[in-house]
Amino acid sequence: MPTDTKRVRGPEVSQSPLLFVSKPATALPSHGPRTDGRPRDQVDVRPVFVRCGLVSQAKGSAYIEAGNTKLMSCVYGPRETERKDETDMKCGRLTTDMRFAPFSCPERGSWIQGSQDKDLSLMLHESLQPAVCLHKYPRSQIEVNVMVLENSGSVLAHAVTCASLALADAGIEMYDLVLGCAVRQDGSSYVVDPTYKEENSCSSASSENQGGLTVAFLPSLNQISGLQSDGEMTEETLTAGVRTCIEGCYKIYPVIQQALAKAVRRAAPPPSES
């Protein structure tokens, strides 16, 4: 077979050159203030920016920005279900789809949904389902799509908040809003709403008691609809972490309420006084 001498054959698999950069300063300090100036061991979530109704084609949509984490969510439906073979037609169906844009993480991802995305979609589904009055929508399905535009940590937590806001914006009947918050335990100290770097740094000297926790919370019903943890933690740490997350959820609650009220006011302006 004649070989094409003009073409440089690259290796079949390639890695990002950034992986091979020698990094002496990867170990983030496990004490003192965090890189973005927030204090440790305190329920200090990043300030969030939220806005409803950005996508005109969708029934409801929302955009959330916390630090550099940027997400958008669209809700379509309720419409007639595609799958007719479902035995339980008295309740509606909620479908969730969460995806990362290929450029959202430091390493390029693919457009095809990987197993991590599928897992996050499932977590999102489990977190949202208890809040939606699905019995009000028989024989129909509601689709929730979340797209991560920039991943700078705590993606699942913000995805939950964003998706529930989009559901509310779409006028889907719900028992409550769902708020998400994440905590990263690092030895004896913890950081709330961790950034991507903080999430992936595991070089602390004490490898005991290290892990991440994400909680989805229904604030006015005081119920936890989603919970996920990994790493290694003691039971006491986990319990404390769950409490911290709940506190963190209450911090962003007023912002979300305000954004929703603003969206409603814009959609149906109050009748003028004159």
Binding site: Q15, S115, S207, I224, S225, S229, D230, T234, E235, V242
Partner: protein, 291 residues
């Protein structure tokens, strides 16, 4: 997921029973069903185990393969999990029906083992950055009668215990080219330390109480359950809420506490059994699948 139809009257019966700490099959709220474990059931694997928990049956086979370490962790080998929901278990799994449950289970397993102490990954490294052992953990569901997570985690621990990885030596010639040599002696093999491999405990919230090792009927009465993977020392490596309902924070704390207690108590008898079986050696009577 394999489900059963439970009528309202049956549900009330189960709910009231659990309220009074009496379950349909006579167990208490924190008791497991009759469990059977057998290791080395498939000869073509490097380690295998079959676990039956009530009518739930799970077969785990582990194959060790040579692979390249991940660029981020050049000094470690890694584990790969795959869960196959065979259509033998329930007809719902036919075709692609079991795929969703399979990915859910395998993703949870990745989370459960996502820490430094569960398996000593450094011992799986052969030459840093070039070669390492990859353990392919394949889980096959043979029968489903609730509580898949617990059965799978016990089976994985047993299979990892019985895993024998052949020893290899690296020799370099004058030009610096490395060569991997496999030991001639089939008994010259490496064993894994499974002391810190966690077991999963699933707690089903039924009414105001929670039960361990729920059957399909009990699961149909519950809205949400919590899975907790606990190591021998009582460290929690993964916690996750599954199911369509939500839980009260207080009951989550109660369930974590109960899960830790039950999980911690599970390890000692399991290790005892595995070591006992090991000691029997070749005299061991093989039970197989029809026992």
């Amino acid at each position: 997921m394999a489900t059963v139809q439970v009528s309202e009257a049956e549900k009330v019966y189960i709910l009231h029973g659990i309220r009074d700490d009496l379950r349909v099959d006579g167990r208490g709220c924190e008791d497991y069903r009759h469990t059977e474990i057998e290791t080395d059931v498939v000869s073509n694997t490097d380690g295998s185990a079959k676990v039956t928990l009530g009518h739930t049956a799970v077969l785990v086979g582990i194959k060790a393969d040579l692979g390249k370490p991940k660029p981020m962790l050049p000094k470690e080998g890694y584990l790969e999990f795959f869960v196959d929901c065979s259509a033998n278990a329930t007809p719902e799994f036919e075709g692609r029906g079991g795929e969703e449950l399979g990915t859910e289970l395998s993703n949870t397993l990745y989370k459960v083992f996502n820490n430094k102490h569960s398996v000593d990954l450094k011992s799986l490294c052969i030459s840093p950055g070039e070669h390492c052992w990859v353990l392919y953990v394949d889980v096959l569901l043979l029968q489903c009668d609730g509580n898949l997570y617990d059965a799978i985690s016990i089976a994985i621990k047993a299979a990892l215990f019985s895993t024998k990885i052949p020893k290899v030596h690296i020799s370099a010639d004058e030009e610096g080219a490395k060569e991997i040599e496999l030991s001639d002696d089939p008994y010259d093999c490496m064993r894994l330390n499974v002391e810190n491999v966690p077991c999963i405990v699933t707690l089903c919230k039924v009414g105001h109480r929670h039960v361990v090792d729920a059957t399909l009927q009990e699961k149909a009465c519950s809205v949400a359950s919590l899975i907790i993977s606990v190591t021998q020392k009582g460290t929690v490596t993964c916690m996750r809420k599954v199911g369509g309902g939500s839980l009260d924070p207080e009951s989550i704390f109660e369930m974590t506490e109960a899960g830790k207690r039950v999980g911690k108590a599970l390890h000692a008898p399991l290790m005892d059994l595995l070591q006992q079986e090991e000691r029997l050696g070749t005299k061991r009577q093989k039970v197989g699948f029809l026992g």
